[in-house]
Amino acid sequence: MMSDEEYFSDGSDGTFQDDSMRFDDVEEEDQYLEDTRFDKPVKKAYEVDFKVHSDQQIRSGQQAQFEEISNILGLDIGQAALLLRHFKWQKEKLIEQYMDNPDSINKAVGIRPEAHEDTKITKVKDFVCDICCDDGDSMETFALPCGHRYCVECYRHYLTQKIKEEGESARIQCMGDKCTMAFDASDVQAVVDDDTFTRYKTLLDRTYVDDRESLRWCPAPNCIYAIECGVRQKQLNQVVPTVLCDCGYQFCFGCGLADHLPCPCSLVKKWLKKCEDDSETANWISAHTKECPICVSTIEKNGGCNHMTCRKCRHEFCWVCMGPWSEHGTSWYNCNRFEEKSGIDARDTQAKSRASLERYLHYYNRYANHEQSAKLDKELYTKTEKKMTQLQSTSGMSWIEVQYLDNASKVLQQCRQTLKWTYAFAFYLEKNNLTHIFEDNQKDLEMAVEQLSELFEKPVDQLANLKVEMMDKTAYVSSRRIMLLEDTAKGLAEDRWKFNVELV
């Protein structure tokens, strides 16, 4: 497990560096990768720098930038905010263009810096509202600096509709026909009720994070945190930026999906699409019979075991790779090496398309197996908690002393997640002498995971005696995972892997 310090390596003051520099500057980006690899020895090759921000920090981060722009350009906070949002927070670009031609920018953004005090709510003699067609001297009216004055009731109705029904915030315009004058936060606050204004602020925060490539909301349900990470979209073939939110959810900053180390985002996307497209064909083939590689008689698969024995000629082979079972030893794990020579020969006798489907199925079955196990994670965790309580009462161990079970369960879950994606990775990996290291790492991790998992199934009264063994296994499994991820991450950064598809 990694310590918090390793994650929060740079100062967390709630403000962000301007990223417009890095955006266009290739050297700067290379610098980023260099940092990742060499400058910080504590960091693993597969780890990236990131920062977790609460909604409060997100808000104060925006506020600091409003104030900065407001000072530089001599505008009020609301106008500075509209400008920054219009320019998608690219400060340098905003300042440069605003200095150049303030009038055209004011017009495009919908602000009128010289006439801001007009926006107050007032009563006007002999007023008729052109929207509800009501009149009366006691009617409260409102207008933006453009002077399109309507009654407050109509404006409230309009803004509430925009905010609550249409989810708009940053670009709400005046009600006047073809008028582009924009509402800033204080205008909105003057008109709507508290509940709508709260919603409005939340929406503004959403657009702030959405507008910035360096920020992403944590996708966990009800989570309020956003993550800041410097990895850019165009770097995603060299790095899999995995981040851990303060809520405990681990996900990919690049695509927002759950942790998919060691697989790059583009392969994840391809793989998920393939699984979707091929699920029917895959079902078909897995449900069907195969031919014995030796005597070509039809063989049905019964049960889950891949060890097949031909009824006619007694030939023993592996259902998945069609290779002789003798090459598999006593464990099916070895079948993660798909390209056995005799397996290839056997498959040559079958249709080529079928072979490619089987190849897919080989990886898919293992991927799905770990996914299935990952789905049981929650159950496993509850079971663990129960065991911990039982253990406390039967062995007299303290809560602290039984934490090893909790830790083991977490490591197990994480490793299954990693293993799952190693199979998608392997499916696209072109075999060469470098990929053997990867396959060995995968096999080692898988065996270690199954051993640790087995330990978990032991009855409670034996668990206390297994404490040392379990802690050792947990540490070992963790180290196997790190080893595998180090190798794959370095391979990606160094462009060492050859894939059988284009990474796009």
């Binding site: 067609c133 009600m175 006047g176 073809k178």
Partner: protein
């Protein structure tokens, strides 16, 4: 009484008092959900000469904050006008009627009719929008929820 009803009552009494511009007539306004209006195009445009077209307005509770749903309907001697922005099922592609694009709550039934009238009057193309047949066969959405692209300033 809803926001929409209050406003529509005012519009209706104004129409009864001041009338509507030439070529536009109110056919049915029995309630505040749906109104029917007929429009004619004046001038020498051969595409629409001597014809009448029927517009159906459907109002939501949020009218005029939200635009009404406006479509052409067929009926006795009423056809759907030929226009590159009007589908043969009567759906009109006009930015004015889009909640996120051209609509302003300042607009009303009369101003919408006038806009559609002039949209017809200035048209010279005797054709349907591109992909009309496919759109008409497929579309089940209300016109308000269709994301048209308003990219043709010539019509």
């Amino acid at each position: 009484m809803s926001f929409a009803v209050r406003r529509l009552q005012k519009e209706l009494s104004k129409i009864h008092k001041d009338g509507l511009p030439q070529g536009i007539s109110l056919v049915k306004a029995d309630d505040f959900d749906e109104w029917l209006l007929d429009i004619r195009v004046f001038g020498e445009n051969p595409l629409y000469k001597g014809q009448r077209f029927r517009l159906k307005f459907k109002f939501g509770n949020n009218y005029p904050i939200e635009p009404p749903e406006v479509t052409f309907t067929t009926g006795l001697e009423r056809q759907i006008p030929m226009h590159p922005h009007i589908y043969s099922n009567g759906i009109i592609c006009l930015d004015l009627l889009s909640p996120s694009q051209g609509w302003s709550p300042v607009q009303n039934v009369e101003s919408v009719c006038v806009s559609i009238q002039s949209m017809l009057a200035s048209n010279r193309k005797n054709e349907r929008p591109e992909g009309n047949d496919e759109f008409v066969a497929r579309n089940t959405k209300s016109p308000k929820h269709i994301n048209f692209v308003y990219d043709d300033p010539t019509v």
